[in-house]
Amino acid sequence: MTSENASSVEITALGKYYNNFHALKNINLSIPAGKVTCLIGPSGSGKSTLLRCINFLEEYQEGAVEIDGQVIGLEAVGGRKMSARRLREMRRSIGMVFQQFNLWPHMTAQQNVAEALVQVQGLSKAEAARKAVAALEKVGLGDKTESFPNRLSGGQQQRVAIARAVAMEPKLMLFDEPTSALDPELVGEVLTVIKDLASEGMTMVIVTHEMGFAAHVADQVAFLEAGELVSCAPPAEIFRNPSDARIKAFLETYHARNQF
């Protein structure tokens, strides 16, 4: 399914190497339009690398990532790298939120959101500022538009980062451990914002360690270990009735850690 405002992603036989290290091994994964896919797994399993291959921040060597049927990063024929211009064209409809927020420190919250609206979408400064304020209001930060990032809490910074990505009206949102750098009491506010976005029908891919959140919000959960996709299934199946011993072991460790 390819709807107006949501992209689908098709990952086939994806392979990624860091020199001799085989980081991703023959990954095959379908991400349907308008659905939420959570990527889980132990540290170093390759989930962030996989996510970063989807917008080609990370180059891959084998297979392909197709967005709405179009291969990203590489030319469909010949496998050469695609031009910077065409890559940017494809990235315009892909939003990304990072673990470390990556807000630009010399710009206010509002300027952070407005920047790409002006520089990439070519909006006027006034129009971009108006849209930026609206996007910040939507994530509950209408009163922080003039604040610089270093005056905001981690949770607020991440909400600005989400507003920055969403203001571009992407058809696909990538979240790379959006709550991992946050103090526990700030995780909730960010997850609430992501949950609200999910209900709007945007395609979302979320790398997370928040199992409860994944169980609640995901349409499908993909479990990776050691660069391999072990399983991709509805959350109920992964969390309640895991087929693979590696998933069981991972969840047991997770539960053991979160008991008190």
Binding site: L57, R88, N102, M107, A116, V120, E146, R151
Partner: protein, 222 residues
């Protein structure tokens, strides 16, 4: 100390100061511009270019300005480069300063968190826009103090231009002391002029630092 001497030689010394300031402004600005281009080329450019630029930096940084200027001014005509003293002096300052400035910018570029640039890429910004809108402003925070610092060092290197007969401060002071034998007064005047000049640059550097770091200050929080 003979104060009358300063009145008598005042205009000449001021002309010297003016030449020093002029050579410094053009030399430092040119050196900063060339240094920035070198740093960016080393950061983004292909490997062979990086090696060439690294070689340039090592050679220029490893040899004294005095000798560089000698070669440029007296050796230049051998390869058809015939320059008047002032242009030769300014070009010499630009060449001499560029590797130091390049290293300041290179270190600054490396200190810009990768995530800031990745955020720009993920937002579909072009590399040029990322450099101008994101990398450069962040880079300036760490670079302005060392830029000011080296520019101050460069003020005193301008004295070397006297060897190719640029009528800058030292040249005028040497003339004054040769004519009057008042070495003490002449050197005192020289030190005073340089000091005053450096204080102005230092003040301007602090102003610039304040401006580039504005987003770090607490008063700006809403």
């Amino acid at each position: 100390m003979d104060i009358d001497l300063f009145v008598q030689y005042g205009p000449m010394l001021l002309r010297g100061l003016l030449n020093t300031v002029l050579c410094w402004i053009v030399g430092a600005a040119g050196g900063i511009a060339l240094g920035f281009v070198i740093a960016v080329a080393m950061y983004y450019g292909p490997r062979p270019l990086r090696y060439v630029l690294r070689g340039y930096i090592e050679v220029i940084r490893g040899t004294p300005f005095l000798i560089q200027l000698f070669i440029l001014y007296y050796g230049g005509p051998n390869i058809g480069l015939r320059l008047d003293p002032v242009p030769a002096g300014i070009l010499g300052l630009i060449i001499y300063g560029s590797p130091y400035y390049a290293e300041i910018f290179r270190a600054g570029l490396q200190a810009v968190p990768r995530g800031m640039i990745e955020a720009g890429r993920a937002m579909a910004m072009s590399e040029g826009k990322i450099l101008r809108r994101i990398t450069l402003p962040i880079l300036m925070v760490s670079s302005v103090p060392p830029l000011t610092n080296f520019s101050i060092i460069l003020t005193k290197e301008t004295a070397i231009l006297s060897i190719v007969t640029v009528p800058e401060l030292l040249y005028q002071v040497q003339t004054m002391s040769a004519e009057t034998f008042a070495y003490m007064e002449a050197m005192f005047a020289l030190a005073l002029f340089y000091w005053g000049f450096v204080e102005v640059i230092s003040w301007a550097g602090r102003k610039l630092e304040h401006k580039t770091n504005a987003f770090l200050s607490k008063e700006l929080s809403a």
